[in-house]
Symmetry: C2
């Protein structure tokens, strides 16, 4: 392709909207274009890379027996009402009505649709196992779309669904997909970790997230340097502190004027924050619009609450939980802003972190302004409606498997695999007949890859201060031939010869034949990140050109023939990796 | 691919919902699946054929310098308000709001989006010409979705947009696309005609529709056997009958009890229907909700009204025009159901077919129950606010070019090319700077291919009473190897050998290794329409198999080696056509 004919517009300045490298460079390379917040279009080079990722995904899915189909983005509300998720999905779901006022959504995911296919078309054990997948546009009306392709409202996703006769079959399907994902992300040039993950709104019994490591990632993962424990921070189990063997002292109310925070009360009473109880108060919406209830969660003062664990413990959708208004909740439950404790609270659900059960003589709010209770003990002074792990893991915490100190890292979630089990087959009635003609629930798994997010993750891991450095597998073009001076006929002829030779060898080549200053061309080549650059300049008369890899700063002066054949060999070697 | 592992479900019965062959066979072959009215999913075999059509389109677009991009389906209302089409598009447009109540639509087409890209990113004449295209999902909330993929509410379309410096450039871009379309549809195996078309809601100055000929098509085309005139019936100009040289007789009111139709009044008054004037009454909505006006259209009694010409003459969107309520319109304009004529009507816009101007002494309603006027003459007795061609062409009418009798045919609109000119660049401000740094409007064209509708059109033209007969270029697989008895090892081994040989040669092959009765397998192979079938049966022991083309009824018994090599040669020859 000739750059002189190509629709391309690189930017010299960092666009205002962009904060992180992938967003900046994809915009500056003119590969994506923002239409409105969280909605992007793909320009010629950007779309080429997207299609390459799609083809890698397709090959690896097909290799595991996946069969590609293509379902609509429009989904009727009834299917989601059947599964119970029409309510559970919340405002992230784009909802719309057709001209007859029938309700639809734009699919944020396709469990319902695929379950519906299988329940009506699979009848016999002989049709199983089955793995159906699609690469398709998904919609999520994110509250805060940001970081370009990282969290957008319309995006390309590969979603696969496996259907098995039994749990052993699901284990096999899950392993197959896990393996396929490792190959996909490796081929895309990503450094990643597969970590245990929460099953969230999708539901199910087990899940792994594939996380491309990156400082700008929105996922936090906890992993152990000593054993192979690795999990998202949302999911990671926390080890409780050793129970105390102190004797229980008498409960006592003390005056603690103006000590609204844990730090303030610990300072005022001269105790460690570990000796205090932190309260977090929530309002929870029920399925009916008017139904509201209150929840108070208690954890040790130095801990952070893990919202995912809270939501899972309550068994409600995430969007149904919000921080309570102090006055409103106080009127109903007796809570007092800054001074709420578990003793004396009423008409609200009390959740207690399991660590608190073993600790003695703690400080907690007295549900009375400017007062705390000391020597608060679980069992004697208060009880929880639910007692469970509600803590967020942090660096240095004990590994739940081996006890070594946990490390934390950030990453971008590019894929996730789920064992759904019978969640959808049960709610939507997807059965098969076994060898004895008995009805059995189909056992399901689901498996997603964020295709456009993967593009962003690749750029996050592969760029420098001058632009993108594409891995060959997903580069929009393999080689760029830069003509320094298009007025010089010798340069033009030599560049053209090399270009044609590359094309003949099946290499995807660009020729920068624009009437632009050399500096502009070099800058653009760097921004675009084409893996190999062959520069045809003054030494064209001698048949000598410059050969340079984008990922290296050094270049060599070699003969035009050597440049072409080196490029061809290098590209082929990289692609066959 | 092994049919024993494949997700496939053919139907023995014609599904209730299906009326036309393409709909019936695509469902019976299990290639598509209905989710709700007008919304379909593509199953493995169906999606393979869709992708083949997409690739043919892509190749031909690229050959003409088209550059592929991919824009969002979500489009903000503001762009459509700028072009004026937010109102013009009517209820066919799926509209929705995001969580912040911002208005969006699901793109029924992308003129606004592409104009927006170009106005902000093209600044110089040196960036033109440009042809950008995408293959993407489109949404139209059809009033009556029907015929499967023929008129659906979510469908795949290729849309391209050309941007030129001047009208000569547009002519060239238009010709290029016209040529590309001829190649695309030829390669897809379609018999089609390119006919002049109305520019409808898209707007613009010239257009051709590519129509796959088919009895079940919704497009009617008029063409001439003597010259190359060909146009959609909506668009086709009509030739007026020879003006009359009769003297004008005095206007007279006559009693015509109960003669509400043209046939009744002509019979009662014993005149030819050509001597009468037919009235058609409409209510027209303005942009403001409450603004309503009335229109009366008059044509010769034996003619049919052409709604497209009426709507174009009024300069309003199609959805703004509906048949008037007799009583309601009568109260305002003096019209009388069944007895309305142009004389005496008031407070409504009067449209007169140009043919009526030259005719003398006609019969028209008297705007009075059970009365008509005779000897009605244009000019003396009534005038039109608009006088233009409002007639629908019919077989036998004079060709507007050469005068020979016109023929009519039906077809499926699979593509359309438009010269948009400056319609969008003007309303949305898309300029480039010319050599003298003067701002010039960009001259645009747009070009669509209904990808999924093309799939249906192919089946319409390629099927028999047993199923689909795929052209090789778009067949989901090229060859099917049918094992008559999978319990017979000799058959299984021989079939496997042939199958592997085909795969090795790069042929897309299926092997029907299911434990099914031979009759089921033959029936399925016919329904699926795979171009070549090699049947391995009893003569496997002798190394002899059956070789059969789907499109022929005859088969031959040949050696297994010959069958494989014949199939390979045949597939390659067909694909290189």
């Amino acid at each position: 392709m000739r750059l002189s004919k190509m629709y391309i517009r690189t930017l010299r300045e960092v666009p205002n909207e962009a904060e992180i490298p992938s967003h900046i460079w994809l915009l500056r390379a003119g590969m994506i274009r923002r239409l409105v917040s969280g909605v992007y279009g793909f320009m010629p080079l950007g779309f080429r890379s997207v299609r390459k990722i799609e083809d890698i995904v397709r090959e690896e899915m097909d290799a595991k027996g996946g069969q590609e189909i293509h379902m609509s983005a429009l989904q009727p509300a009834e299917l989601w009402q059947e599964s119970g998720r029409w309510y559970a999905y919340g405002p992230e779901m784009w909802r719309l009505r057709d001209r007859n006022e029938r309700e639809f959504c734009l699919g944020p995911t396709h469990e319902e649709i695929f379950t519906d296919i299988v329940r009506s078309e699979v009848s016999s054990y002989r049709q199983l196992p089955l793995n159906l997948y699609q690469i398709q546009t998904k919609y999520r009306d994110e509250k805060r779309p940001r970081f370009g392709l990282m969290r957008s409202r319309e995006f390309v996703m590969k979603d696969a669904y496996s259907f098995d006769r039994d749990w052993e079959g699901l284990d096999q399907s899950y392993r197959d997909m896990y393996d396929a994902y490792e190959r996909v992300f490796t081929r895309c040039g990503l450094v990643f970790r597969a970590v245990e993950a929460d099953t969230g709104a999708i539901g199910g019994s087990a899940s792994h997230e594939f996380t491309a490591l990156s400082e700008v990632g929105e996922s936090e993962i906890a992993y152990c340097g000593s054993c192979d424990m690795a999990a998202t921070s949302e999911r990671a189990e926390c080890v409780n502190d050793t129970p105390s063997d102190e004797a229980e002292l008498p409960l006592e109310k003390v005056v603690t004027p103006g000590t609204k925070t844990i730090a303030e009360v610990a300072g005022f009473l001269k105790v460690d924050e570990k000796q205090t109880i932190k309260a977090l108060l929530f309002r929870v919406y029920g399925e009916a619009e008017e139904s509201v209830s209150y929840v108070a969660a208690f954890i040790r003062g130095d801990r952070e609450l893990n919202m995912t664990k809270l939501v899972n413990a309550l068994g409600v959708p995430e969007h149904a939980v919000e921080f309570a208004d102090e006055a409103e909740m106080g009127a109903v439950t007796g809570s007092v802003g800054g001074f709420t404790g578990p003793v004396g609270l009423h008409d609200c659900k009390i959740l207690v972190d399991s660590e608190l059960v073993g600790l003695k003589n703690l400080v907690a709010g007295a549900c009375e302004k400017d007062h705390h209770l000391i020597n608060v003990n679980y069992g004697r002074d208060y009880k929880g409606d639910i007692v469970t792990d509600l803590k967020l893991i942090k660096a240095g915490d004990k590994c739940p498997v081996c006890g070594a100190p946990v490390k934390m890292a950030r990453g971008i979630e590019v894929g996730q695999v789920f064992k759904l089990g019978t969640k959808y087959s049960k709610s939507m009635g997807a059965y098969y007949k076994d060898e004895n003609m008995n009805d059995q629930l189909i056992i399901m798994g689901c498996y997603g890859i964020g295709v456009t997010r993967t593009l962003a993750a690749i750029v996050e891991q592969h760029h420098d201060e001058n632009g993108i450095i594409w891995p060959m597998s997903v580069a929009p073009y393999h080689v760029i031939v830069t003509v320094v001076n298009t007025e010089d006929e010798q340069q033009t002829v030599l560049a053209e010869t090399i270009y044609q030779e590359l094309l003949k060898a099946g290499i995807e080549a660009l020729i920068d034949d624009r009437k632009e200053r050399p500096g502009v061309k070099f800058k653009d080549a760097d921004v675009l990140g084409i893996p190999v650059r062959i520069t045809v300049g003054k030494k064209a008369a001698e048949g000598v050109v410059e050969y340079k890899l984008r990922k290296e700063s050094a270049f060599s002066e070699i003969s035009a023939e050597a440049a072409a054949s080196d490029a061809i060999a290098y590209v082929r070697a990289e692609l066959s990796k």
